[in-house]
Amino acid sequence: MANDREVLREIWDGKLPICFQLAQEEIMEIQQPDPFYVMVPRLSYFPLVTDKMKRHFLRYISQENADNEMWLDYNGQPLKWHYPIGFLYDLFCGNDPQLPWTLTVHFTKFPETILLRCPNKDVVEAHYMSTVKEADVLKHRGQVMSTMQKKDHNQLWLGLQNDKFDQFWAINRRLMESHGDNEGFKHIPMRIYSDDGITCQRLICPKNNDGSRKTVHQLLSELYPDKAEVNLRTHGVLIPLDTPLQWLSEHMSYPDNFLHICLC
């Protein structure tokens, strides 16, 4: 069980200052729009926190583009809305912190081959719930999610969407329990991203063959036997190599129940 409440709270409260700027070629007014500054939760998703920003910039663009889907880039790299914001920051700026994080807002030239379409927040919810289900298949063969009621699923989503820690964790704690006589999950839901754009997801057991708790260091030597020095970053911190994977999963997972980790 996730027992270190201070850690859970600290992770939940993580925020990033963002400076949104409208792409120059989109500006149709003589007067330049002011950049839009906002603090956003690291655990959230861009479509959940950008309504106000969108309204701010709509006045400055050509009205024929006003109904187009908005998208964001950092340094020319389109940002995938279906990844948590904090993870995107760690991926692009982890080694070279830049605050506030300056992003460019677009209403035209949607990069179809890179980004998924996100016409409304229901799509974000569907993506989120599906990821939680995938994580639960790895942890408990899907048994927790399938025995929960629809209202519990809603509560998870609303807790995240409305930034309500207690509401979210009242349900999420059930997803963080170990089942049977096992101390730990069946497998650890974890995605490791390297800067070449490759995502690695494997069946990772929280225990070694001798029953001891598997650490980050042991995992890295299994996954990357040839690499001498690898570090992992999540929520803006480098993970100490002696951290047990089970503890990491219970406390440092994103609300979608996955650990999203950058290789560095």
């Binding site: 995938k80 998924l116 599906s130 289900k133 995938e134 995502t199």
Partner: protein, 122 residues
């Protein structure tokens, strides 16, 4: 659009396994050896059945690519929807790589994907 041709890098895995073996024996210059994995496509709900269910696909491709392939194979209209499910539980996002899903959810050497035209498992 609409003919029976399949893309170069997808091949029928059940009836003509030999085809792949032949390629490997005499064709080391033909292609760089891409890792392939077997997927099994099962219809559910109101979706039409595919005649060939088992396919060997490039492991590095994203799930969205399989979705496009199935839509083409079933001759669905562009606006028709197709949902793919793993373990009859969750819908992987279209940019998830087949290899990752195969490693985590493959059984007996293949990844089973259920497809349907309406949402089946939420």
């Amino acid at each position: 659009m609409g003919d029976e041709k399949v893309p170069d890098d997808i091949s029928q895995a059940d009836s003509d396994n030999t085809k792949e073996v032949d390629q490997k024996e005499n064709g080391d210059s033909v292609k760089s050896d891409k890792v392939k994995v077997d997927i099994l496509l099962k219809a559910t709900g109101n979706a039409p059945i595919m005649k060939k269910k088992k396919w060997a696909v490039d492991a590095e491709k994203p799930i969205g690519w399989i979705m496009e392939f199935v839509k083409k194979y079933l001759k669905l209209e562009p606006e028709e929807k197709l949902f793919l499910y793993v373990n009859q539980t969750f819908a992987p996002s279209p940019d998830q790589i087949i290899k990752n899903l195969y490693e985590c959810f493959g059984t007996d050497g293949k990844l089973v994907l259920h497809y349907c035209k309406t949402q089946a498992w939420g």
